[in-house]
């Protein structure tokens, strides 16, 4: 068709490009002109491949919301440097030079925190012109050494985060191509930093020494010219340099294999924290040296002095290859940056103080507890790297051993050939995958946990089939076969327990992420309740089996959980779980009763019913049959008859309170569990009281309003009764 069009058009006036062997050249301008005449106002050409992504990726030039501006002050780094945007030295006045150097250090710290918090490296740390041209600063030892260690630190952090692969989060974080991340000799950054630190330290000692001694150091050059300020400037610099040194040490120690550097890392973490404190203390002096610069609150400034740092231009990188999002970003304030690093160091310290317990249950518990403090990406990446290395736990414990221990397989048969089995190897991969997922941010974590439930279901079936096949094949009932069957039984029970644990974590994370609305609490607590019951069942089975093994091998399985629970001594872990079950059951029943008695009314939705909402919330659990036979009709059936009167008569919350009292002493030397028990007790107590009030006054007082709040526990709600 194009050829035809060309034929009809007058010949181009320009000299045609000579045709080659495989090509014929023609001017298409007349064709385009003609086509344009066919287009009316408002008409569009729509290419099939122009999809939503293409539309969303398009930018409108000069739209302030989209276009952060390619026209910046300078067209290149060199032009900026020529124009004096980043002078070396920063000032010929040595006092001003030191002052400005400190501002640069502070602004870099603010940039670094902003980067950690999810912005691109190009728009944050590498908005520093001094960093972009590593060689230029070589005559300025202070700035040069600082820039070197910052670059080396960024490199180390990027490598930890990319190793950890925390999924979508690191996309922007690790993008660094086109940036001068690898300065010459950056690997020796510490020796240079140490030398500079030593010099400043000597300068500090010199200015503090009595004047009689000063004469001895005649060839000695002070940091700057104003002797009255010498001490304070030396101190302000020293804490900044030392922070960098210790922080770099923290990162390298934490990367040592098998957690060997953790103890040393803790020492450096403590030093970092104390240097940060010194930096905060120096801000009063620094502010006093720059009067009149504090328009607006100091809280918003990116330096301790409140001055704008010299040598930064975020727009320069628009022209570099490193991708910058189309928007200008706001750099965190210096105060916020210090807060960020304090929190990061605290989180890293928690990781370093973990005793690398070989028990998987303890690891899972640790990660879950760690996540409660909402650690940021860098801390989570470090944890993940520590937990999983070379396909082993802590790079040390092979997964088969970890699994058999978790499954309470008796010691005598743990070293079995079974570990080479395909399904067992796959199970090991699932455990590694689970550990990695647990280190990601809760939003991503929940999505992945929901998805892997299916894998855990599948591996269970595979293992079951494999074990059955194996026991069928072997004809002699040798000791080896017995051992194999024994391991198989233990592992199968454990896989189920673990699957339900993942399901419970998936459900509970929904509260943290605020995915449930009050009208859905009933079904969520009901689901948590059925899942917890399953965990209890498997846990009890596991415990019973490990107690039985060796003694009563003939009697393998028990008929019901309650039998186990009635054993003379119920283990505290089981009682703990029972307490949670009582609370979940109590809440589900109370919510159902309130609805059934029309004390919490919800207007029906015009487009669907509760059934669809149930399917949506629990789709992934239902797909993986977790638990078996649990469905919406079952939920309906078990909640439609809930009544307040019955609930008061059989108060689940009172049961929970009783269990707490019983189990308290078993956890007296475990502060974390004791605190959790206290929270459970409070939920139980408040709900029990609320239940009594509602059942007595509710029918008589229609103005009574019941709502649910999380003021005692992060995911177990407490009923709040108010008169409207």
């Amino acid at each position: 068709m194009a050829d035809e069009a060309i034929m009809d058009l007058p010949l181009p006036e320009r000299a045609p490009i000579p045709s080659g062997d495989h090509s014929v050249w023609a001017d298409v301008s007349p064709l385009l002109d003609a086509a344009c005449k066919d287009l009316q106002d408002g008409m569009l050409i729509h290419g099939d491949n122009f999809n939503l992504f293409a539309a969303m990726s398009a930018l409108e030039i000069m739209d302030p919301k989209m276009d952060s501006g390619i026209v910046c002050k300078y067209y290149s780094v060199d032009e900026a440097i020529e124009d004096g945007a980043a002078p070396v030295p920063i000032s010929s006045d040595r006092t001003v030079d030191v002052q400005c150097t400190i501002d640069i250090m502070d602004h870099l710290l603010a940039c670094e925190a902003t980067w950690h918090k999810g912005h691109s490296l190009a728009q944050t740390v590498f908005s520093c012109i001094y960093l972009l041209r590593p060689d230029r600063t070589s005559s300025h030892a202070l700035l040069h050494s600082y820039c070197k260690v910052v670059r080396a630190t960024c490199k180390t952090v990027i490598s930890v985060v990319s190793d950890a692969r925390t999924h979508e989060e690191e996309d922007l974080f690790t993008m660094s191509y086109g940036l001068a991340l690898h300065g010459d000799g950056d690997d020796k950054c510490l020796s240079m930093l140490n030398a500079v630190e030593e010099t400043v330290n000597r300068q500090l000692r010199a200015c503090k020494a009595p004047s009689s001694k000063r004469r001895v150091l005649e060839d000695f050059v002070p940091l700057q010219n104003n002797l009255e300020l010498e001490e304070a400037y030396c101190k302000a610099l020293l804490c900044r340099l030392r922070f960098r040194k210790h922080f770099y040490h923290v990162l390298t120690c934490m990367r040592r294999p098998q957690g060997r550097g953790l103890e040393l890392a803790r020492k450096h973490i403590a030093s970092c924290i104390s240097e940060l404190q010194c930096m905060l203390n120096s801000s009063e002096f620094l502010r006093s040296r720059s009067p009149g610069t504090h328009e607006g609150s100091i809280e918003d400034k990116t330096t301790a002095s409140g001055c704008q740092a010299i040598g930064f231009d975020a727009s320069l990188n628009c022209r570099l290859s490193a991708p910058t999002p189309p928007r200008a970003i706001k750099i965190l304030s210096w105060k916020k940056a210090i807060e960020y690093f304090m929190k990061l160091l605290h989180d890293l310290d928690v990781i370093c103080s973990y005793p690398l317990d070989p028990s998987l249950e303890s690891v899972l518990h640790f990660v879950v507890e760690f996540q409660k403090s909402l650690p940021d990406l860098v801390a989570r990446a470090h944890l993940q790297r520590l937990l999983v290395e070379d396909g082993k736990l802590y790079g040390r414990d092979p997964l088969f051993g970890v699994i058999t221990r978790a499954a309470a397989v008796p010691d005598s048969i743990r070293n079995h050939d079974m570990q080479k089995h395909e399904s067992i190897v796959y199970l090991g991969q699932l455990v590694i995958n689970l550990l990695k997922i647990l280190c990601t941010n809760s939003a991503w974590q929940r999505r992945k946990l929901g998805k892997i439930l299916q894998d855990w279901r599948v591996v269970y079936i595979q293992l079951e089939m494999a074990f059955r096949k194996e026991s069928g094949e072997s004809t002699d009932s040798s000791n080896d076969e017995n051992a194999c069957m024994n391991i198989a039984q233990h592992i199968l029970v454990w896989v189920e327990e673990q699957t339900y644990w993942i399901a419970s974590r998936f459900l509970i994370l929904g509260f943290e992420l605020e995915l449930y609305s009050q009208s859905e609490y009933c079904m969520v607590y009901w689901y948590i309740y059925v899942v917890l019951i399953k965990i209890l069942e498997k846990k009890s089975l596991k415990m019973a089996a490990s107690n039985d093994s060796g003694k009563r091998r003939g009697k393998k399985k028990r008929d019901s959980v309650k039998d186990v629970a009635r054993d003379i001594r119920i283990p505290p872990a089981i009682l703990f779980l029972q307490c949670q079950i009582c609370l979940a059951e109590g809440l589900a029943t109370m919510l159902a009763a309130l609805r059934n008695e029309r004390m919490m009314v919800q207007s029906p939705s015009p487009f669907n019913t509760e059934h669809e909402r149930f399917s949506q919330h629990f789709e992934l659990l239902q797909k993986a049959c977790i638990p078996d036979q649990v469905s919406y009709p079952l939920f309906k059936d078990s909640t439609t008859h809930a009544r307040l009167l019955n609930l008061v008569r059989y108060d689940h919350f009172k049961d929970a309170q009783k269990i707490v009292k019983e189990v308290k002493s078993s956890f007296s030397n475990n502060p974390e569990k004791s605190a959790e028990l206290r929270r459970l007790e409070q939920v139980a107590e408040h709900n029990s009281i609320a239940l009594n009030i509602i059942s007595r006054a509710g029918a008589l007082d229609p103005s009574l309003k019941v709502s649910f709040e999380f003021n005692h526990h992060p995911y177990l709600a407490t009923a709040v009764v108010k008169r409207s």
Binding site: G42, P325, V530, F607, Q616, T639
Partner: protein, 185 residues
Amino acid sequence: MEFLSKKDEEEARAASEIEYVSYEGEDHLPLIMGLVDKELSEPYSIFTYRYFVYLWPQLCFLAFHRGKCVGTVVCKMGEHRNTYRGYIAMLVVIDSYRGKGIATQLVTRSIQVMMESGCEEVTLEAEVTNKGALALYGRLGFVRAKRLFRYYLNGVDAFRLKLLFPRPDLHSPTSPSPSPYMRLD
């Protein structure tokens, strides 16, 4: 993508004067763009608007009060991982007209068309801080399916909301017999 204030049923005083119109062509585009640009945090290029209104004009509605455009909804629908899915891209009501049920009216019209066109579900994203929108969609039967970490350019998380339309086979009364421990009465 939405921004709404708290709906208040009592305040639907002027609601009867609001006129709802289906997208009628290029003349409506500047009205839609003006509203969205002003009220939503996310910037959209002209291509994004045209992408939606040219391909799915039947899913786009505008609300007028005495000739002035005070609200709009922009949507799409299509195949998504083996389901036919509707998507609400933008929903805006100008500040002084909020709380009168206009957004509910607008979005209900779009969802209705989606349902009639055979969609199995409807999705959208809303900022986690946008309580008004979350409440509105909650009333319409949407569930918060996922939280999307730092979804927006401004760094705020989003919820992915989902509305599942009833499927005939979902409501069959074949329930397995409940085990005794699951009965809560």
